[in-house]
Symmetry: C2
Subunit: 213 residues, 2 copies
Amino acid sequence: MKFTYHQIIALDRLYRANLINSITGFKSVALLGTKSENGNLNLALFSQVFHVGANPPFMGVLFRPESQLGGNHSLKNVRNTEYFTLNHITANIYKQAHQTSARYAEDISEFDAVGLTPYFSENFFAPYVQQSPVKIGLKKEEEIPLIINGTTLIVASIQELIIEDKFIKADGFADLHAAGSITCSGLDAYLSTNKLARFSYAKPDKPIENISY
Amino acid sequence: MKFTYHQIIALDRLYRANLINSITGFKSVALLGTKSENGNLNLALFSQVFHVGANPPFMGVLFRPESQLGGNHSLKNVRNTEYFTLNHITANIYKQAHQTSARYAEDISEFDAVGLTPYFSENFFAPYVQQSPVKIGLKKEEEIPLIINGTTLIVASIQELIIEDKFIKADGFADLHAAGSITCSGLDAYLSTNKLARFSYAKPDKPIENISY
């Protein structure tokens, strides 16, 4: 089956949303925790989350257009307070994580609404998710509006990373499979993983070797 | 274990690269195909690939700093020709896919070097990977330099999408697990998936239902 740009534009809205959100590949998925200036806690599910750089340690989060509310109490809080967290989800909490995407009123804490536990680290403003095996504390460094479709890219520095020692290999690699982190697909599908392999750094004219995984 | 920003900055370079590239979560991973103005084919592995919007259908690809070559014959070709492809990888071709990340000379086709087959669609400039179950043809719409660390975000429109009918559900959702697409973690780990569930659209005060998956 081949879809062209014009065929995609002509599709039913929901069909297109399902199709285009799913064909980009399996995604990083995390709960984004914020605290408003009034002290309200907010938690929202994000899958447009990616690595931007290791040194300094930067991540990117793409926020939907402000006209489409939903996750944008998060954006408001990130703008006003600069701090937020990203928390991996596991098979134990993915149903609660999905439920955070409902449009709760701004003064409702999604932690309370879905039954997840806020965890505060010393000296960090935004709430983590206690149940998450990988907790990342971030500070907004740059806000880049993507004029082309009204989305907003936040580039943020990693201020804290909380993960059990046993999930970090000797070379620094974090074993997310062992930690129980899951991935998502499209708007509403969740999947666990199976290890295939880790490979050595590729060089021309040298065969790839397997790394213990 | 808790790492702070300053502890991360002080880590050994390779340890930090492994840690920070892996903790962001499981990633979309795809082979990016281009053709140079001279007609040379190029293929490179990318995992900073994400959904930007469904209408119009946009994706984003983050390119590493130009000072760190490697994937940047790709960026040069995208700049000069505007067209590129993203091709999902499966357990049948992930070793070849990883090998494309070796620093081949600019006039070497990674298709030839690693043993993958270029596929040309009618009227589309850039090469797809024949062996890939999901082939996406893209046109550069906007180039956004992330001054903060020298990376480059390319926002591109989906011009073509090639996928077998049987992998598309009635509601438009593309079943990547059935297609055999895999995910990656960090710089060098590859994982296959297991379906957990698809969930209905979340609403406050309404329980989530499972969607057939």
